[in-house]
């Protein structure tokens, strides 16, 4: 039976704010009409020899939410696993060429064994003019003492709508580090949730973005502190220009029993035009006495003292803004652990990603 286009279209509700607020702010979630995914996006894969394929995972929640899990469930995940104690130095590189027209999706699952280490670099790459919708799901289970560094680079072309969902469960002493760079894409939805289930487990996310033209970036970062003495850090820094819109949701959720835990989140947004829309909602939810949670946000123009200092060095205001904008992306790019990818991204920022409106 062939379904009509209308029947294939679905209204996804994604990036649910873990603590709901006034509806008129339009921050509680994102509602997007999408077609049913119709093709699996294959990755150009550079796999370290020591990394084994196969073995799936029990369901793990991501930042995007159950609607998205349902939407992508028909895509069989590419699964990888490590052996106990295995420290894999070379990164797994997965490069996705985003296609025009079709609605494609890819799912990846990682089972990271006790005391093992893995670096994963995902590059969502596309060309301008390649209009389409792409969905990604990355789910991880980190056993005791495991370490995963996940780098995701969004340079998917200016005409792509991208859904990027990450979900991880961490056992005792596990550590999960995420670096995300968003440099272009028409509409980008990112959900990222780390369940700090084990004691002393930790999660760190560094996010940098440039959103311009009439593009949209909609994010939802969630750190669930279940274990004792767990730690989370969420740093988000970015630049908005033209008629861009961005919504940052960041939640530190201290569950009862997570004593001795610490959570920090910070957002620093530079606005370059009067036509941008910047929305920020950093939550701390707390059901435990013995915890420490902090969040801070700085939104708007550059600090007067910094402007004065740089202007006194002979720079014009516009130049200063351009320089600072570029520096925010470069700062995040320096966190990419692979030298070749790092240099490639820095070259992309320097050349292709000119921070000037033409």
């Amino acid at each position: 039976m062939t379904m009509s286009a209308q029947e294939q279209s679905t209204n996804l509700v994604v990036n649910h704010l873990p603590g709901q607020t006034w509806n008129w702010l339009k921050m509680n979630d994102a509602r997007v009409a999408v077609d049913a995914q119709s093709a699996t996006l294959e990755a150009d894969t550079v796999k370290p020899e020591a990394l084994a394929e196969g073995a799936g995972l029990s369901p793990i929640g991501g930042g995007m939410g159950p609607d998205y899990d349902k939407w992508i469930q028909g895509i069989a995940p590419a699964a990888y696993h490590t052996e106990a104690g295995q420290k894999i130095a070379a990164p797994l590189k997965l490069t996705y060429q985003l296609k025009s027209g079709a609605t494609g999706a890819a799912s990846t699952a990682f089972d990271i064994a006790k005391d093992s280490e893995l670096t994963i670099i995902m590059d969502f790459a596309g060309q301008n003019g390649a209009a389409g919708t792409s969905g990604f799901s990355t789910k991880l289970h980190l056993a005791e003492g495991a370490l995963v560094k996940l780098v995701q680079i969004h340079r998917g072309g200016a005409d792509q709508r991208i859904f990027n969902d990450v979900g991880a469960v961490l056992e005792n002493d596990a550590r999960f580090e995420v670096v995300q760079l968003v440099m272009d894409a028409a509409d980008t939805y990112i959900g990222c949730q780390a369940d700090l289930k084990g004691d002393r487990s930790s999660f760190k996310a560094d996010v940098a973005y440039l959103v311009q033209n009439e593009d949209l970036l909609d994010t939802n970062f969630v750190a669930l502190h279940h274990g004792k003495k767990t730690e989370s850090t969420i740093n988000s820094a970015g630049v908005l220009r033209d008629k861009a819109e961005k919504l940052f949701r960041g939640t530190i959720d201290f569950k009862n029993g997570a004593s001795g835990s610490v959570g920090n989140e910070k957002e620093d947004v530079m606005l370059m035009d009067d036509t941008v829309i910047n929305k920020t909602i950093p939550l701390i939810l707390c059901a435990e006495e013995d915890v420490e949670g902090n969040h801070g946000a700085t939104i708007g123009k550059l600090d007067d003292e910094l402007m004065f200092y740089m202007e006194s060095r002979g720079m014009a205001a516009d130049e200063i803004y351009e320089l600072i904008a570029k520096s925010k992306l470069e700062a995040a790019s320096r966190l990419i652990p692979d030298q070749a990818v790092r240099e490639d991204v820095q070259a992309y920022i320097e050349t292709h990603q000119r921070l000037e409106k033409e």
Partner: protein
């Protein structure tokens, strides 16, 4: 030092929990529930002008159409069919305490209202259930042209047009379900008009007492501070505790003129069976300043977010608030501000304390429109958890739509430092007193903004809340 859990007893509220049984011959009341007939009955009882009667009926329609939001504390225990929306003592409003019926007068005397009036207030309004029973303003203040009266009198006097032009224009019945409810059944409250350039040196106060079990109080406060004028208004409220739900859905509309200043202070101490679903909103003109000082201690459930619209260039807002959520309380408080003009500023300092299973939520929104070039906003919120059976959430939203803005936000959540308690104990202070001192210090930002008598009352409330602490 080993970490020891603290047990905090329930609050001794005998100061507020005394009550007099109301008998039918002294009170007029409508049936419980909410129907067009009841709304018309209230309207007739209050001798409303036609436009007010229409507003009430339209509001009822909106109330019936609107659903509840999916956010905020549950209000399942509130059944409008059980709530009596209008209870009037069979007495006329007086400007002389001696004329107020004895039981009602005794109530306000126990709460210290007549004494406060004599010592430190420019005027007092006292509402008992649905109606004002006392209203007075000092002669010298009245001679400055300051109007301080009940809304009902104002509706039929020389300020009738001013009331019509402002009443439920800032908070409209369409805002939310309980604003619509308020529009339908409002009763009581105060009208204040401060003429151009007049500075009222000492505060005015309205005190709201809800005595009837299962009743609602829906007072409306409308304050207009004209160009260059200055006013401090204090609002106090309390009720005895009953085993049935009581409801407070008041509305406060504040209009602050060019270069005028208004400070609005509230010490909310409703009983712990109260659903406090109150709406407050202020609109500030060019160069005007709005100052909110808010202490929330009572209620079973609270939804309270004073909103400020900075509508003129250079308008300012300051919010200083504390919320103390104890056993059986779910207090959702915070603020909203809209920067809608150039060079507007807002500064927020919000604190909350949760203990003994209490839930405290700080909820806010800072909206900066693209008209607000040069706007500055700074929000700071801190939450203190006193045990691990309580809950404290922080949900602050920011929506910024101009490049030329400077918006900052910081929030912290944590517990009383063991080191601070240890330090104080090493100076000979008991652990109970040390903890109470630390909490009082934490709340200092609010108490130092209140007139001395109210700061003392607030600190007493904190001490009561902390009483019973054992190491």
């Amino acid at each position: 030092m080993s970490k020891e859990k603290t047990y905090v007893e329930d609050v001794d509220r005998s100061l507020y929990d005394f009550r007099y049984d109301e008998n039918d011959q002294d009170f007029y009341k409508v049936d419980s529930g909410l129907t067009p007939e009841i709304v018309e009955q209230i309207s007739e009882e209050k001798n409303d002008p036609d436009w007010m009667r229409d507003l009430r009926l339209k509001s009822l329609e909106i109330f019936n159409q609107k659903g509840m939001g999916q956010w905020g504390p549950p209000i399942d225990g509130l059944n409008m069919d059980d709530i009596v929306t209008y209870v009037r003592p069979k007495t006329k409003m007086s400007a002389n305490w001696e004329d107020v019926p004895k039981d009602i007068k005794d109530t306000f005397e126990r709460l210290g209202i007549p004494q406060a009036e004599r010592q430190s207030l420019a005027g007092v309004g006292a509402q008992y259930d649905s109606e004002l029973v006392y209203h007075n303003v000092r002669k010298e203040v009245a001679e400055q042209g300051v109007v301080y009266t009940d809304i009902e009198s104002a509706l039929h006097g020389e300020y009738a047009d001013m009331i019509k032009d402002h009443f439920m224009h800032l908070i409209t019945p369409r805002d939310h379900k309980f604003a619509a409810l308020h529009g339908a059944v409002w009763s009581g409250g105060s009208f204040v008009y401060v003429p151009k350039g007049v500075s009222v040196e000492i505060p005015l106060q309205s005190y709201f007492r809800l005595n009837a079990p299962g009743a609602g109080q829906f007072e409306h406060t409308l304050i207009i501070v004209d160009e260059g004028a200055d006013l401090h208004f204090i609002e106090g409220c309390s009720a005895p505790k009953y085993n049935v739900a009581n409801l407070h859905a008041g509305a406060v509309e504040l209009f602050v003129g060019k270069n005028a200043r208004l400070r609005y202070s509230t010490i909310e101490n409703w009983s712990k069976n109260m659903y406090n679903l109150n709406t407050k909103r202020a609109k500030i003109e060019e160069g005007g300043k709005m100052e909110w000082v808010s202490g929330s201690f009572g209620s079973h459930v609270s939804y309270l977010y004073p909103m400020t619209i900075l509508d003129g260039a250079g308008a300012q807002m300051e919010y200083t608030g504390i919320t103390f959520a104890g056993k059986g309380q779910n207090l959702d408080t915070g603020m909203k501000v809209v920067h809608n003009a150039p060079d507007t500023t807002s500064a927020v300092s919000a604190k909350s304390i949760s203990k003994d299973g209490g839930i405290s939520t700080y909820r806010s929104s800072v909206v900066v429109t693209n008209k607000a070039k040069g706007a500055k906003s700074s929000v700071s919120c801190a939450s203190l958890m006193l045990d691990d059976i309580s809950r404290s959430d922080t949900i602050p939203a920011m929506d910024v739509r101009t490049q030329d803005a400077d918006v900052g936000h910081e929030a912290k959540i944590g517990r009383i430092s063991d080191e601070a308690v240890f330090y104080l104990m090493s100076r000979g202070i008991s652990e109970e007193d040390a903890r109470a001192m630390i909490v009082s210090g934490f709340a200092d930002n609010v108490s130092k903004e209140l007139p001395l008598e109210y700061a003392v009352e607030m600190n007493n409330l904190i001490r009561l809340e902390m009483k019973g602490t054992i190491g």
